[in-house]
Amino acid sequence: MTQAVVTSGSSELVPSPGHLGSGHDTNTGVSNAKLGIWLFISSEALFFGAFISTYFLYRGRDTQFLKGPTPDKLLNIPFTSVTSFILLMSSLTMVLALAAIQRGDHRRLRIWLLATCIFGATFVGGQVYEFTEFYRHGLHLGTNMFGTTFFVLTGLHGAHVTMGIIWLLLVWGRSMQGRLPSEKSEAVEIAGLYWHFVDIVWIFIFTAIYLIPTH
């Protein structure tokens, strides 16, 4: 016969099943590094939320003192669609890099990491070209509310992509030096989580700024 009893004290404790087989000797049963990056990503959602909502708040509301070119005259949807496609593809190469290190294929890991960096750099290059074009057409940070919200939002996103490229290059460098064995694949996974989040943010920025009609 079995019975349910309430016991207390260390001699009676049964190990928490949540920790069995998790592979992480932490209070939560999950990796602290992964927990940290998810917390950071969660806070970044609030960070970008502030700028996206500000963009929507001032969208088309400064008509009485509008000066300089308007969004519909400046935004180049075909061009930005191509750069968005490139950023989406960088997410694919990133996740392929992770799959490669998890099966111990370090050569492919380095190829896919480098491909991700090249795609990311192409995206940032496209953004620099777009900013330059807008500037030449008379849209500056202080020209109108569109200029302010557009440059701040897309500029901050571009800065995040640039940080991601630097991070991935560091991971690639570690792999080149042979300091990234398959057991440390979490380093690639964490960099990848950041990269995919940056991609997710662009999905919404692209829709908000370029695709949703301004009138």
């Binding site: 016969m1 079995t2 019975q3 349910a4 009893v5 309430v6 016991t7 207390s8 004290g9 260390s10 404790l13 049964v14 190990p15 928490s16 099943p17 949540g18 069995l20 998790s22 939560t28 049963g29 999950v30 992964k34 927990l35 998810w38 917390l39 990503i41 969660s42 806070s43 970044e44 959602a45 609030l46 939320g49 909502s53 929507f56 708040l57 949807i77 669609s81 968005s84 496609f85 989406l88 593809m89 997410s91 694919l92 990133m94 996740v95 392929l96 799959a99 998890q102 996974e189 990848g192 995919h196 991609d199 997710i200 999905i203 919404f204 692209f206 829709t207 695709l211 949703i212 009609p213």
Partner: protein, 131 residues
């Protein structure tokens, strides 16, 4: 740890009964860990194809501006962006397979952002920008 109390099913000899640990899998553990294997490259490529198709539909839909109701257009575009978001988060960020704690953290942040900025936008639109 020494002061903690647990409900344990025991047999006559006072030992944890067979399967007791499985029974307790979700008792008193706020962070149940259920990690599954990640998908393979083929699934990742498949998701990328879907993402590209959705982006193509999005861009094509944006050229319908002026031909269909703008509210309908916004609804279509927002839905497409949301589907892309879910696909990237679930498959590429492994939220579908990783520990539920990560999913809760991320969705918590997103929901908090929607709540805070939703209220902010309503307040600004009704007061500050009207004045």
């Amino acid at each position: 740890m020494t002061d903690s109390t647990e409900l344990v099913t025991r047999d006559d000899a006072g030992l944890p009964a067979a399967g007791a640990i499985d029974e307790l899998a979700h008792v008193g553990d706020p962070y149940p860990v259920e990690e599954h294997a990640h998908p393979g490259p083929r699934q990742y490529v498949l998701i990328a194809v879907v993402l590209v198709i959705l982006t193509g539909i999005e861009v094509a839909a944006s050229y319908l501006d002026g031909h269909i109701n703008s509210n309908v257009l916004i609804l279509i575009l927002a839905s497409m962006a949301s589907i892309k978001f879910v696909l990237v988060a679930a498959w590429y960020m492994h939220m579908k397979m990783d520990a539920p704690l990560f999913r809760r953290l991320f969705t918590g942040g997103i929901l908090l952002a929607c709540f805070v900025y939703g209220i902010l936008m309503l307040f600004f639109a009704s007061t500050v920008l009207q004045s």
